[in-house]
């Protein structure tokens, strides 16, 4: 039923005009309003904090939908940010949020002043960093990894974008006031990258599904040599492989989300690491392969700005690089697997049964 809400809402509101306007920098206020009204920004927030109280497996449906419809809003980021806040004991504010952890090797720094916490440092490529009302920061301080909330206006913004023309801004924090509450048990220092990879995997799953859907529609519609091109076996064989990739990433995404839900029960968040790493590695690989097949099936029409396919494929190429490329996650996963050892591989593989 969450899926129905998501699909109906995006089906109604996500138009090509809206996508084009967003690429030109317009904030889709009506879309954001509708998403927030329907509770889609806070699936993971506890009811005590005004949320829905679902797990990641349910939230995946929203993330998947956001990816499928190329929603040009920081919905996935707000879901993640509000989850972190809720877990840390801060009631999430309304309005769009993003997340920031620093850069490779240079995490943000949190310090406690007599009148409250401050945050310092720089974070590149913060999604919608210049447009959101709040940024949730994650940084180590006083022996724990802490979560804090920084309001718009407390940081400097240098605008930039990804290949899908989604805002990816550099934020600079100079002694910025930040609301830091409790800590989250076992939250890893690279939580933004880790859970960033999780939300992108789910979004990639959605974007892949859309690319397949558009390709099948097109192949049944476009006539060459007197019949729809989808009747040609070569085209069928390619689209079957596209379907394989869609299926695989869908499964990898749900598996990673389910693993986080389980890890939250057991209290050992690290248990989910394996599935998230596998998910992003698998999704990254699928994104490239699938985009290539979808474009091949669409011919020159798919190469135009007018056709909608590129809204999905440009996201696929950007998202596969964000929060760690598939290659980087694969290497980390491989290192972990070698540590675990061949004789224990299946133990880990079946740990979430």
């Amino acid at each position: 039923m969450l899926a129905d809400t998501v699909n109906r809402l995006f089906e109604d509101l996500m138009t090509t005009e809206l996508l084009i306007a967003a690429e030109q920098g317009e904030w889709p206020a009506a879309l954001w309003h509708a998403v927030e009204e329907n509770g889609l920004t806070m699936p993971l927030v506890s009811e005590a904090h005004g949320g829905v109280g679902c797990g990641w497996l349910d939230a995946r449906v929203v993330l998947h939908g956001a990816g499928r419809y190329s929603a040009p809003i920081p919905l996935a980021e707000t879901i993640l940010a509000s989850w972190l806040l809720d877990r840390a004991g801060i009631e999430p504010p309304h309005g769009p949020m993003s997340i920031a952890g620093g850069s490779d090797g240079a995490p943000l720094r949190l310090t406690r002043e007599p009148d409250g916490w401050r945050v310092d440092g720089e974070c590149p490529r913060v999604p919608w960093g210049g447009q959101v009302d709040h940024v949730v920061v994650v940084a180590p301080a006083e022996g724990a990894v802490r979560v804090g909330l920084v309001a718009k206006g407390e940081f400097n913004i240098t605008s930039s974008q990804n290949m899908a023309r989604e805002p990816r801004d550099t934020l600079r924090f100079d002694n910025a006031p930040v609301n830091v509450a409790g800590t989250i048990d076992n939250l890893p220092a690279d939580a933004v990258t880790l859970f960033g990879a999780l939300i992108r995997t789910a979004q990639i799953g959605g974007a892949l599904e859309r690319a397949l859907h558009e390709s099948v529609l097109y192949a049944n519609d476009r006539v060459q040599f007197g019949k729809p091109i989808g009747k040609f076996q070569a085209v069928q064989q390619n689209l079957a492989q596209l379907a394989d990739e869609v299926a695989a990433v869908g499964a990898a995404g749900s598996s990673a989300c389910a693993a986080v839900d389980l890890a939250l029960q057991s209290g050992v968040l690290d248990d989910a690491w394996f599935r998230i790493a596998a998910g992003k590695a698998r999704a990254g690989e699928a994104a490239g392969k699938a985009a290539s097949i979808a474009h091949q099936a669409h011919g020159a029409f798919g190469f135009t700005y007018e056709h909608i396919l590129h809204f999905s494929t440009r996201r696929l190429w950007s998202w596969r690089a964000e929060y760690g490329t598939g290659e980087r996650w694969a290497e980390a996963l491989g290192r972990r697997v070698v540590e675990i050892g061949a004789d224990n591989l299946w133990e880990v593989m079946t740990a979430n049964d």
């Binding site: 085209v235 492989q241 499964a251 290192r335 697997v337 070698v338 079946t350």
Partner: protein, 391 residues
């Protein structure tokens, strides 16, 4: 467009206990098996091992007790199977009977057939082979020509089957034969038969019944499959499985059922394990990235395969999902040897060299068959395309 989904399923608590038992059993009965032998996966055959599995109740696990089965869930069977395959245990002797022929008889067999042909299977004493393909009928299975002609009290069979795995050791063949010609519908007029090849004690029944089994040696120099020639071989009326002339639908159901098990992505697992061992000794970033990528695929395929098992358990018909698992699984199994070669810069070897080199040498060759057996890659992708609404 038909949609597909692979929802996570939770395995029942009994599965964890069973996994422990299987691992203990393997530690006792499979520990000495060499990596190269393990790499045979479900083609590795050892009747003694099958009998031991039978004693433990791990053949026909989900079948009714009255036929020697154990009425366990298909999840438990899944867990047992994946443990066996990851360990490279020799499950090949009873493999076809347990996976394919037993379920066929449970679905379509007569009470008499079930009473006679199922209990010995569960004891690991009766092995099956499948006679579908013929020299001129591969992917186009409906074109089979080997004929069963109605005679008094039964049928006379003439023609030949090919690529019949295990025909030289099996006790029974389930054959798909032509029983009548219908010019308007070639799917009509095919019938499945139970053909006795051997007594339980091993006594041969083929020779005196006009059945000849000729070995076909694979490019690895191994004897797994055969040509089987029928010259006026007789089977009684009671050998018909299911509906006379209605075998096509039965065969399609049988094949769809076998597309998504753990055997569909674990055939090259021994090489992944050898790669991990080699990297533990001398780690490289390239090696880590390659193994990590393979493990990401493995974890995803397992998730998909278990999910399909869940749908089968719930009585759904995940035909499209099953084909997707088999297609992805075969691609995965096939690419591993080449990746191993790239990562380790080694020559594949036969009969000498390290475990890694030998397993690689075996799988480079053997994996060619993984996208042929049980329906070729192209045929599977055709099935997927139909599911997508393209055909």
């Amino acid at each position: 467009m038909q949609t597909f989904s692979f929802d996570p399923v939770e395995l029942p608590p009994a599965a964890a206990e069973l996994r422990r038992e299987v691992r203990e059993f393997l530690a006792e009965h499979n520990a000495a098996r060499k990596p190269l032998d393990r790499a045979q996966s479900w083609s590795g055959s050892d009747p003694d091992f099958s009998r031991k599995m039978g004693e433990r109740g791990w053949i026909g696990m989900v079948w009714p007790k009255k036929y020697g089965g154990h009425e366990r869930t298909s999840f438990e069977r899944y867990v047992m199977l994946e443990e066996m395959l990851v360990a490279g245990a020799p499950v090949g002797a009873h493999w076809i009977a347990d996976r394919q022929s037993g379920p066929l008889l449970l679905n379509f067999g007569t009470e008499e057939q079930r009473q006679k042909y199922l209990p010995p299977v569960t004891r690991g004493e009766m092995f099956y082979c499948i006679g579908m393909s013929e020299p001129d009928s591969g992917s186009d299975l409906a074109s089979v020509r080997t004929r069963a002609t109605k005679v008094d009290g039964g049928y006379r069979i003439n023609g030949s089957k090919i690529w019949t795995s295990g025909a030289h050791t099996a006790h029974v063949m389930i054959a798909l034969l032509r029983t009548r010609n219908n010019p308007d519908n070639r799917h009509d007029g095919l019938t499945q038969f139970l053909i006795d090849l051997r007594e339980a004690d091993g006594t041969d029944l083929k020779e005196k019944n006009g059945i000849t089994v000729r070995p076909i040696i694979s490019m690895l120099g191994e004897h797994h499959f055969n040509e089987v020639i029928f010259e006026d071989a007789f089977v009684p009326d009671s050998a018909v499985v299911g509906t006379e002339h209605g075998g096509w639908a039965q065969v399609m159901a049988e094949l769809a059922f076998e597309r998504s098990g753990p055997e569909r992505y674990l055939s090259s697992i021994q090489l992944v394990l050898e790669m991990i061992r080699a990297l533990a000794a001398s780690p490289t970033p390239q090696g880590h990235a390659a193994v990590g990528r393979l493990v990401a695929h493995l974890a995803t395929l397992r998730q998909m395969s278990v999910s399909v098992a869940g749908k089968l358990n719930a009585g759904e018909d995940p035909a499209l999902e099953g084909s997707i698992v088999k297609d992805l699984g075969a691609v995965f199994e096939q690419e591993i040897p080449t990746i191993a070669q790239q990562v380790f810069d080694l020559e594949p070897k036969l009969g000498e060299g390290s475990d890694l080199e030998q397993v690689m040498g075996f799988l480079i060759q053997n994996s060619v068959s993984y996208s042929l057996r049980g329906g070729t890659r192209e045929i599977l992708r055709g099935i997927i395309a139909r599911g997508l609404g393209l055909r």
